[in-house]
Symmetry: C2
Subunit: 518 residues, 2 copies
């Protein structure tokens, strides 16, 4: 496939989806993820192999019931494996609608589905245990789990052996160890959080209308603070504004002019992971609606009455009384994953690293998807000599554009940063890469010229955002791989191995191709 | 109205309602209430009087947002008074459906209505404060309230003056001070209770299917215990049985035969406040369904693993492991009402006593409706001489049946126990009362004969059951009185005053007549 044809295909795919979807995809592609993978480990795709035809099915243990795990379970041919799912939450939640649940736009029951309903619909017997994985023992291929439901008669601890482990435990709210946040702030990570916020918002209004309240106390009780200018915080602030202005004011007319919503963002702009135009549109809309946006502010501490923050530019510290705070500043790794990373030599990373086929680096038979992991994309500069050799069929020491075009499809699949780079530079014709630094056309290119032409692409390596869409696509991708593992060795469909011979069994995970093909 | 015509009317009224309704009314009339009023205070109806035509409206403070209070607020002409409502719960709940909420048959949101919605629909400005009344100061005509919402900025305490106070705070669960009940049992009094039970039932099943569970532990986790064989307990046990057998077993097929429901009742039969046939039907149905009914058992204590009870007949004590207990053994007075009763000389009673017009005895301008109060019905034997005098128009010292028939309508309104007595004895013709003890017909009757004929009726004085229907009818009755207070003095509609002259302003509250007329 030439680059031109690639772009035609990609643009067709984008156009065929809804306008929202295409924008969303584009934004995902353009925006940097929260955490950049640090390691450059060389490990390759190692997909499950069912070596023999014993009657015993291989054991697959899935940790989690969020977007990644649920998508994996829905896609998996459960008759091929002995599947067990472990999660402290026995339901799947449609998390992007959580901000709407906080204001009753959507009912909580409408965005959840019991896991037992989901697994009943599969074509094999999937077992589910409502418990938390407290230790992953990769050496012995087992996980230790504990059930935390109250008043359990008997022991709630058990361990499960696995042949393949799929880690999809998600992440937890990052408080950056800010004092008082856990005790005094609401989060917006789970259905229960959203329901609590809904009740607390009403509580604030009930408090404010009490006959014992001074006007100052009313204003304090009606000061809603959102910390974090990411999509969740912004969407919640907007929903809350509409909820108060359109619904609650009718029931509490006396406090109409005393409600205030403040959005605190440590960066210079809200929604700064998206295009500048989106972020400035949101800021202007908020200003028109009377939502105060305080950028460049870092929260130092929170107590039950006040939130204390530092204005970065001036260094001044101020404390403001609040009625309710929603803390939504991003996510961090859960304890069991931190311990696991320690065990497998990933202690210095921020998040569990996988290769491009979603297998955890430094660890056999363990896969990780969704917010708990990040793909450690191989750099093209590390393989550039092998690529040059593979492309230089006649061993001339130089490549013609035709020789290059022959390997370009495989390069784009194996190193998607090349695609982002070309897109960013608006390069539609490969010949542009062939030009020398002065912009003159060349017939052929040597290894140094080739390095120069492609190595810049590595600057476009980026983590995928921690979104529901990524997790869901990863789950579906992995299920698809698990389903076809028996036949794939004979018919590998991955890109050619530049550092070895033959082809990779599977195409690496990619947000686009996964979206198109699954 | 003759007795015969009364019965014709009553029976028409009963037939015109649905079969369920008529049964229910009948049951209410036949069954004894939980608490018998002890005092025989003489106080009379004292309904609010708007003495002058000042612009200041009289202040009505309503405590509560349950059946009684809500029905009062809906019926009240709010333009006549300055109305304020205080309750820690800012919604009305349709409590008879709570057992259905525990099993998801009905969603919690479907059985609640925000109080602010309710008061918005009235034709005056009613104020609502989400707070708990912590002291009723009848001497100074004010109530002290406290808001218990978390993280309140400023003081949550305030006091409200009233001209008329309507106490409708309901009751609380009676644990009979059984150790461990508060900590380890679920109640079924409020929407939140029902929601917690729903989650806990699922939790029990999740616990039971864990791989670490022995069969014995599974059976313990799946042992659902209901304490109390009243309507709530019985209905919950039945709903739970259906929920597990019809829905949950599909999701947890492995534990199908290990679920057990036990209903513990201290009396000899469940539903013993109703007709014997109902109670034995329920017991037989439960036995067929595999719900174990343990009658004659008293619970001694509860902990997180076991429930300990004593079999009354044998005196043996046994402890049984449980997964979940729902405690539903009846109600008792809330602390603020106990303090209030102490203050107004009702310390020895079990529940706040009102006269037949719902005014609290020993206390001016305070009314009480619903579960927090009980009507102290005046005995006919205390007024029998006055009644005889009033009926004996020609002062002959004897009454003819015609003279008696003339006062009978007023007697039945003022002393409803007479009606119950006649009904119970199947007396359709008053002449039967006229017979002498040997059953011979008499033309006239003297005072002693009159006493003999009517005094037995006092054995039929009974408290109304603590049901939603009674509370709602009392609220509607009281609102109707409050609405017409200005005009009623000139056109009294109550029964004649046998112990004085003239008529009572209003008819006393009666479950039937209120049901018909409002």
């Amino acid at each position: 496939m030439t680059i031109a044809s690639f772009f035609t295909r990609a643009s067709r795919a984008l156009k065929s989806t809804s306008p929202f979807c295409s924008n969303f995809l584009l934004l995902c592609a353009l925006s940097g993820g929260g955490v950049v993978a640090l390691s450059e480990s060389q490990s390759e795709a190692q997909h499950p192999k069912i070596e023999d035809r014993e009657p015993r099915k291989k054991k697959v243990v899935v940790l989690g019931t969020g977007w990644g795990a649920t998508s994996f379970l829905k896609g998996l041919d459960a008759s091929l494996y002995d599947v067990q799912v472990v999660s402290p939450r026995n339901y799947f939640a449609f998390t992007p609608l959580l901000p709407s649940v906080t204001c009753g736009t959507v009912e909580a029951r409408s965005i959840v589905e019991p896991v037992r309903n989901i697994i009943k619909k599969t074509n094999g017997e999937i077992k589910f245990w409502e418990a938390e994985c407290i230790k992953i023992d990769a050496a012995d291929k087992k996980v230790l789990c504990r059930c935390n439901i109250e008043n359990l008669v008997g022991s709630g601890e058990f361990s499960l052996d696995y042949d393949f482990l799929v880690v999809a435990v998600g992440a937890q709210v990052n408080t950056f160890n800010t004092p008082g946040v856990k005790e005094n702030c609401h989060f917006l990570k789970d259905v229960e959080d959203a329901q609590k916020i809904r009740l607390s918002v009403i509580d604030c209004l009930e408090k404010a209308v009490l006959p014992s309240q001074s006007e100052e106390e009313q204003r304090s009780n009606l000061h809603f603070v959102v910390v974090g200018g990411g999509p969740t915080g912004v969407e919640f602030a907007a929903e809350l504004h509409d909820y108060i202005q359109e619904d609650l004011i009718k029931l509490y007319p006396s406090v109409k002019d005393k409600v205030k919503i403040t959005l605190i963002q440590s960066g210079d702009h809200i929604l700064n992971m998206f295009d500048e135009r989106i972020s400035s549109f949101a800021e202007q809309k908020f200003t028109r609606d009377g939502i105060e946006v305080q950028t460049g502010c870092r929260v130092l501490s929170v107590n039950d009455q006040e939130i204390t923050m530092k204005v970065k530019s001036t260094g001044s510290v101020c404390s403001v009384p609040h009625g309710l705070i929603v803390w939504s500043t991003g996510i961090c790794t859960v304890p069991v994953i931190r311990d696991f990373m320690q065990e497998i030599g990933q202690a210095k990373r921020h998040v569990l690293a996988t290769n491009e086929w979603l297998r955890v680096e430094g660890c056999e038979n363990v896969y990780a998807i969704g917010d708990c992991s990040s793909i450690n994309q191989r750099k093209i500069k590390d393989d550039i000599i092998d690529i040059f050799k593979a492309a230089d069929k006649n061993n001339s020491g130089t490549l013609t554009i035709e020789e290059f075009q022959e390997v370009m499809d495989d390069i784009i699949v194996r190193y998607p940063q090349v695609e982002y780079y070309l897109k960013k530079k608006n390069i539609l014709d490969l010949r542009v890469l062939w030009n020398d630094p002065q912009g003159n056309e060349r017939e052929e290119i040597d290894i140094e010229g080739f390095k120069l032409a492609l190595s810049l692409a590595d600057s476009q390596v980026k983590s995928l955002p921690a979104t529901a869409q990524v997790a869901a696509q990863q789950g579906a991708y992995l299920a698809n791989c698990f389903n076809r593992i028996d036949h794939i060795e004979e018919h590998p469909e991955g890109p050619r191995r530049f550092t070895g011979s033959g082809h990779h069994n599977f195409r690496p995970f990619s947000l686009h191709s996964s979206h198109q093909s699954l």
